[in-house]
């Protein structure tokens, strides 16, 4: 098949897209002059995907928290060796990450791109899962969870999610808990693998010094029959593998009430200064495609207008010592959840929370003006252009958009077209006082 080419004229770049016979979504954005080749293979399976219909049994299942991350760890295991070695052998560097909505496997190389891409595709088709290797991994994941539990900023965020949400799996840590990891079995992991690791549920993005047609050819040659992880495939032609064309059937999580579960949560841990995070649970969820991307863009602009470096609120909070220059915020809008989180280290957590609430309330009555919104639009447009400098960052943003049904250049158009009304709308419905929760970390006695 021929690849479809779209050009983002302003960036002087072209994006090539196609679908392999097996149903894998393929995207390529060549970057002239780069030495590096970078590929990201993203699976539409993240930490929030805990309820689904198992393709193995045809029955609905609820899997333990952290399972997507667990599976990501296991995909690198081969019989008696590690898939990392296979990449190292040809001078490529592989890595992977799991977030709330997706799992992504990536590599960078400056040499044997074809071989590395073949390895990447094989990586997601061949799990080597035995009860012995799964048990061993639990110890490693437990250490990882403990490492995150030592980070005050991470703990503040985890606690905030638990305060904001009653049921939605976004309230769980991405890696799960020590208990949920312990309760994960080989069968659970197989269920998840067979349900979600199908070509139609994946997107491959390649960038850097690459040839689109050649990369597509390699992607088309991938063998989608799950082997046993020792590198020997069983010879079924692409597209014939069971379930290759079936998309996973996700089940909605139990109805999430509009209210927050707790307006305030607090914990003590070893930390140099208190941390306060304020969260607003958006009253608009269930969006997808353009509507979802527009809300994300409007939410970003709203936060920048209210709390960005150029805002009066930031200046005032900074000058009075309420915040440091590491005060930060994020608007995170997905199909099943949407919220804004802002805050950071502060000597006065309560005062910071009050101040944030006051600024949000004031903005609902008397929002930012058109000059502010237009100036901030220049900022986000320019920052979007700088993404193209880094193959890794470009791939990350691409993957975060693709499962929302959003392309890179399309998202750029959305950024350009966000209106003052969009910003006012999100301020009116995304920052309500009754949907606000505060998470505080207070220092406990430090070491000697």
């Amino acid at each position: 098949m021929k690849l479809e080419r779209t050009s983002g004229a302003v960036f002087q770049e072209s994006l090539y897209r196609g679908t392999t016979a097996a149903g894998l979504n393929f995207f390529c954005l060549p970057r002239r002059g780069y030495n590096k080749q970078h590929a990201a293979l993203a699976i539409d399976f993240g930490a929030v995907d805990l309820n689904f219909v198992s393709v193995r049994t045809g029955l609905p299942v609820r899997v333990p928290a952290g399972v997507a991350h667990f599976l990501e760890h296991k995909m690198f295991e081969r019989k008696g060796r590690s898939a990392f070695d296979e990449f190292s052998r040809i001078g490529a560097q592989a890595n992977a990450y799991t977030n709330y909505t997706l799992t992504s496997y990536v590599f960078s190389t400056t040499g044997q791109f074809e071989k590395a891409l073949t390895l990447l595709l094989r990586l997601v088709t061949e799990p080597y899962l035995t009860s012995q290797t799964v048990e061993k991994e639990k110890g490693i994941i437990e250490q990882e969870i403990r490492m995150y539990r030592d980070m005050p900023a991470v703990r503040a965020e985890t606690n905030l999610m638990q305060a904001l949400y009653h049921h939605c799996p976004v309230r769980e840590e991405i890696g799960g808990t020590v208990e949920s990891v312990k309760s994960t079995t080989v069968e659970t992991l197989r269920d998840c693998f067979e349900t979600f690791y199908v070509p139609g549920n994946m997107s491959l993005f390649v960038t850097g010094d690459v040839n689109p047609e050649q990369a597509f050819e390699i992607a088309s040659a991938a063998n989608w029959t799950a082997g046993d992880g020792d590198g020997e495939a069983t010879g079924v032609t692409p597209g014939e593998a069971a379930g290759a064309s079936d998309l996973p059937r996700r089940l909605p999580c139990p109805d999430e009430p509009g209210s927050v579960r707790a307006p305030k949560v607090e914990e003590r841990m070893a930390s140099s200064m208190p941390i306060a995070l304020v969260g607003f649970k958006d009253s608009v969820t269930g969006l997808s495609g353009k509507a979802l991307a527009s809300r994300q863009a409007a939410g970003d602009l709203a936060l920048l207008a209210l709390f960005g470096r150029s805002s009066l609120a930031f200046e005032q909070m900074y000058e009075t010592g309420l915040i440091t220059d590491r005060f930060s915020f994020v608007f995170d809008s997905e199909h099943t959840y949407s919220h804004a989180v802002l805050g950071g280290e502060t000597p006065y957590p309560e005062r910071l929370a009050e101040q944030v609430a006051r600024v949000a309330a004031e903005a609902r009555k008397n929002g930012p003006g058109i000059e502010t919104v237009n100036r901030l639009k220049r900022k986000v447009i320019g920052e979007f252009a700088t993404l193209f400098n880094s193959p890794e960052r470009l791939a990350r943003v691409f993957c975060s958009l693709v499962f929302k049904g959003m392309g890179l250049f399309e998202y750029y158009d959305i950024l350009r077209n966000v209106s003052l009304e969009d910003v006012q709308e999100v301020l009116g419905s995304g920052f309500l006082p009754e949907r606000q929760a505060v998470s505080v970390i207070r220092p406990e006695e430090m070491g000697t």
């Binding site: 302003v10 960036f11 780069y34 250490q143 009066l312």
Partner: protein, 427 residues
């Protein structure tokens, strides 16, 4: 593939290095000032960039500077310090999206250059010196930063290990300064130090991106008003051979996961003939997922969640950093030591050797794909007094043989073992 910087005169004693390339969508400008690491001066040096980004005579607040940066399509102002060998480097920079890409012309570039220049040379003043409230605020924030390093347990452990290794020496000073020194800073002392830095410190300026070198050269000459200076560099010494016993430091801290840092002297610097053998040795040991530390300490023995090595060739140091549980600290240390011994005895296979060389070669090649890495490398090599091309670096890497790796492993000397955990002392 080459990163070709053109060298131009900016001011007497100050040079500009420009790499014009259409590869990037941004223009990155960096101005580096250097000074010796010294008590008090280092604290003042850490404070200067923070005060400079607070306002210029034309845009006298951070809010107004931020608005201007937004108008310049989300340009980013960087003001930070780092440690390069025995030097503290103050870096002031601006990254701006390419004006041409956004349908804008040289005027946008001129505004960007002017903004960065005035941040460096015409800070907002009050009564002929820095404003007292502003200085107090930045002192507080910087102190908060220093105190918060402990929240990142690994970074804290690494910082403490360096401090212990170089107690009483310049390199033992932390690049962000010291809390008690910072508390004592007055606006006039800080302003004097700033004047000295801008007036006399060695300066290098860099530009990478889609730009005509003559245009940006002219603009910088127009607006970056620096007095003439001599072009002498601040000198830096490699860490010499150890002349004392191995130091063991344990700190108690209420954390779930313990941290271990082992500090070594490598006796190999950026200009050493054996630089590339040291890099291959460190790579085989712990730089990558295929390395001995990861494979043996984590994968085979499950002793740690993470373990890696870090090389600092500006000072001739290597660190092994691990996160583990309190009971396992001793084992981790022992197994890590065994891995170094194994390399000394030539116990590494072709795969470990080849994969490491390939990984380093990948890093050298891809350094050209980032404007900031390009600038960082160019600057390090200028400081070390030895410029090398990508081709030369690849050639020297290729020439490293197994014997040289064994020699590099034999040269490293364990200096200090630092542990941080909730339990008591570690034997």
């Amino acid at each position: 593939m080459e990163t070709d910087f053109q060298e131009l005169d900016l001011r007497p004693g100050a040079r500009l290095y420009v790499n014009p390339t259409d590869k990037f969508k941004t223009l990155s400008i960096r101005v580096m000032l250097q000074q010796e690491l010294r008590p008090v001066a280092t604290s003042l040096g850490a404070l200067v960039p923070r005060v400079l980004r607070r306002g210029t005579s034309e845009l006298p607040s951070m809010r107004l500077i931020s608005q201007r940066l937004e108008e310049l399509y989300g340009s980013r102002l960087t003001a930070e310090v780092s440690k390069v060998g025995d030097r503290q480097v103050l870096m002031l920079g601006l990254d701006m999206p390419s004006p041409a890409l956004l349908g804008e012309g040289d005027d946008l570039l001129r505004q960007g250059v002017r903004l960065l220049s005035s941040v460096i040379t015409s800070p907002v003043l009050s009564g002929g010196t820095f404003d007292e409230r502003l200085v107090e605020r930045e002192k507080d924030t910087l102190i908060t930063h220093i105190e918060s390093i402990v929240n990142d347990r690994t970074q804290y452990a690494l910082m403490r290990c360096v401090e212990e290794m170089f107690k009483g020496e310049p390199f033992g000073l932390f690049e962000l300064g010291k809390v008690d020194e910072l508390r004592a800073v007055t606006p006039s002392v800080l302003y004097d130090h700033y004047r000295t830095l801008v007036g006399t410190a060695p300066v290098h300026a860099f530009v990478v991106g889609p730009v005509d070198p003559d245009t940006v050269h002219r603009m910088l000459k127009e607006s970056l008003d620096l007095p003439p200076r001599d072009s002498r560099q601040v000198s830096s010494e490699l860490a010499p051979a150890l002349n004392r016993e191995l130091r063991t430091i344990h700190e108690r801290f209420p954390i779930e996961q313990s941290r271990l840092v082992m500090g070594f002297r490598t006796h190999t610097g950026l200009t050493s003939e054996s630089l590339y053998s040291a890099m291959v040795f460190e790579g085989i040991l712990g730089g990558y997922p295929h390395s001995k530390l990861f494979m043996n300490v984590r994968e085979k023995r499950s002793l740690v969640y993470y373990i890696q090595s870090i090389l600092d060739s500006n000072k001739g140091l290597m660190f092994i950093v691990a996160g583990t549980s309190h009971e396992k600290i001793h084992d981790v240390q022992e197994v890590a030591g065994e891995q170094i011994d194994a390399i000394r005895q030539g116990k590494f296979n072709d795969f470990e050797f080849d994969a490491t060389k390939q990984a380093i070669s990948h890093r050298i090649r891809s350094s050209a794909d980032s404007p900031h890495v390009q600038i960082g490398l160019e600057y390090e090599h200028l400081l070390a007094g030895r410029k090398t091309s990508v081709a030369e670096r690849l050639g020297r890497l290729e020439a490293v043989d197994r014997d040289q790796v064994m020699q590099a492993a034999t040269r490293v000397e364990l200096d200090t073992v630092y542990t941080l955990s909730k339990g008591g002392g570690v034997e």
